[in-house]
Symmetry: C2
Subunit: 384 residues, 2 copies
């Protein structure tokens, strides 16, 4: 058993919610000091627009730029959102103090009411409250999970990994055909032991189950993870932790189509709309294992097994090579600046066909697990 993580010093143990509560408390103290000193209370919030989203070439992730906007209590234009920010932050603090882990919807209903003596609602919609919630994330530098806020989870994992949660030892090699359902508050799970050489992330749950059934992870000494389509935050976080804290390389297996590339892209660099999360969720060294467009020829996928690309696929593929009109910089530099990726996208745009992972079954039901995957990994035939 490989019991020691790569960087024990850096390894995240169980994060304490006390840290998050203290950060919020400091915010409240700052605001009340402002009031005590007769200054207008103000919060300065990093702007979360696409135009303030930048690619950090050093860390290879999307992140927020420098622009901030100020929200003041004593200005008509800022007072409503200031009130909402303070109200929601207080609710999060109360939840933390009572060891409650609500969802952002719970927070919305918890704080929603008509302001006394008026007919004004604290929030007009969940969208409004979600927006303020994200402001609090960037304002405090605390992601929702660090504040104990639960979201829907979707991912599953198996392999030689021993986890711990609430004093329970969870051995992910002992689930048979089942799997461990990765919870939203993924960082509350401690990773005790890992005995694996890499992480294989599989787009499709059914493929994940089939590989688990063959005990692919045991034969190939890997951790098998699926996000069941576009990955939820907890799955991305688990992948990142296995990479960062345990030094495991990460390979992503998706269908050969722009949607699959987009799924890979999110694991790797994060999403434009939520770029401020990338620093904890993205995994810049993740490699795209396949199916690649070049695989289609190399493995002689029969023509009738290919699927005609639709307009949406073509549009998506072209987007990956776009430049931002304002800055002139590529929108997805990890695609744009990569020769291999440009080649992949070109083949796709020339041939306008895509293929599913399952097309590998034309060569037999075990071709994927016994030939394709081991061959690709052994020959390092991936795209970075």
């Amino acid at each position: 058993m490989k019991k020691l993580p790569k960087a024990a010093g850096k390894m995240r143990g169980l994060e304490t919610f006390d840290d998050a509560a203290n950060t919020l408390r400091q915010l409240f103290v700052q605001l009340s000091n402002d009031i005590a000193e007769s200054k207008a209370p103000m919060v300065s919030i990093p702007v979360r627009t696409a135009s303030n989203t930048v690619f950090d070439p050093e860390r290879e992730i999307l992140t927020l730029g420098q622009r901030t906007s100020e929200r003041r209590f004593n200005e008509m234009s800022g007072v409503r959102s200031f009130m909402q920010t303070a109200l929601l932050a207080r609710a999060i603090y109360e939840a933390l103090k009572h060891d409650d882990h609500p969802t952002i919807r719970d927070l919305y209903y918890y704080t929603l009411h008509t302001i006394e003596g008026t007919d004004i609602e604290t929030f007009n919609s969940q969208d409004e409250s979600n927006n303020i919630f994200q402001d609090i994330e960037v304002l405090t530098g605390l992601l929702r999970e660090q504040m104990g806020i639960v979201a829907e989870s979707r991912g599953a994992m198996v392999g030689e990994a021993v986890l711990e949660s609430k004093g329970n030892r969870i051995d992910c090699s002992k689930f048979g055909i089942g799997a461990f359902n990765i919870p939203s508050l993924c960082d509350q799970i401690r990773i005790l032991e890992i005995d694996a050489e890499y992480v294989l992330v599989v787009e499709k749950d059914a493929i994940f189950q089939r590989l688990n059934d063959y005990e692919f992870w045991r034969k190939n000494k890997c951790i098998l993870i699926t996000g069941k389509g576009q990955a939820d935050r907890a799955t991305r976080r688990m992948v990142r932790r296995l990479n960062e804290d345990w030094g495991l390389p990460v390979y992503v297996l998706t269908d050969a189509d722009p949607y699959g590339w987009y799924i890979y892209s999110t694991y790797r660099a994060g999403s434009i709309s939520l770029s401020y999360e990338s620093y904890r969720l993205a995994c810049p060294s993740a490699k795209f294992l396949g199916l690649s467009m070049t695989d289609l020829e190399k493995y002689e996928i029969p023509k009738d097994h290919l699927i005609k690309a639709n307009d949406c696929d073509v549009k998506r593929a072209k987007e990956l090579l776009l430049k931002d009109p304002a800055s002139g910089k590529p929108r997805y530099p990890w695609f744009y600046d990569s020769k291999r990726w440009r080649q992949e996208i070109k083949i796709f745009l020339d041939k306008r066909v895509k293929a599913e992972i399952e097309s590998k079954s034309s060569k037999g039901f075990r071709f994927l697990s016994d030939v394709y995957l081991p061959e690709k990994i052994k020959s390092k035939d991936w795209i970075k």
Copy 2:
């Protein structure tokens, strides 16, 4: 520990795939006998249309009627689908014989090819192959899971349940904030021990995680299950097994809206499009726990916490009371024939509002787990 299931004699252990292989073998033998006796080979397949879907009032589930259609090898109109049926059945048989558990997509690619000496494809699309696959299910009386065919899975469970898979003992009370991901081939999991008084099925995964975090299942002696929205087959099957084999009552918790009712309806009676599965997947005694429309008044949900119903909601609600034009029978008799359900639907259509489970948080983050749910179950305030 309540170690003995309700009906040990009836309890399903691990189903053997040999039974499925033998059933398919008998089909092949019958067809080759026909040929040996110079009879035109023929298969007789129950019709899977809505008009041949009937409600079985005794078992309280949707099921297929008596109509069948014949598919003959020596008739122009039947030869293509006859060929497809035989081809796909053979592929399933081969997979069973080699202990492979493909998906229906794998089967499609495995069997897809140009017929030698022609330019005819065995299948023109996955839809065509999926359709034939369902024909094989009703023809043989074997559901896909009984033939070892894997589908996407989504559900998760926790509680005092000990399962077994591939020799591993899986204790569902020892996952901390995580959960057991219910695999597609749910019947391959043995249920060894149960120590619980009921099953609580939760529509939303985030609510499931929150209840798990509070260890609701331990305090209330229940098994907690989520299908993460509209349930997948494996989750429904697990609920059914806990109900049928272990005698646990089943309560379903959803949002107060027609979509939530539909989710309950699928757990309870199955779906019209796949009525032939109900006999193994539906759970006719499942009760709707809430949120009910009457709850909205009883628990004084503030008006601003209600959501205006949209046209789609209203259409769905009206559909639940429709009669089939041909037979004159109600389409969803479990709604139509229930006074309580008719009242619920009437309140909804009068007020045109809906509510989310999370609206309970207006009374505090633990109101749902500490007050609402225990109160509803204790006072038997559910809808059947």
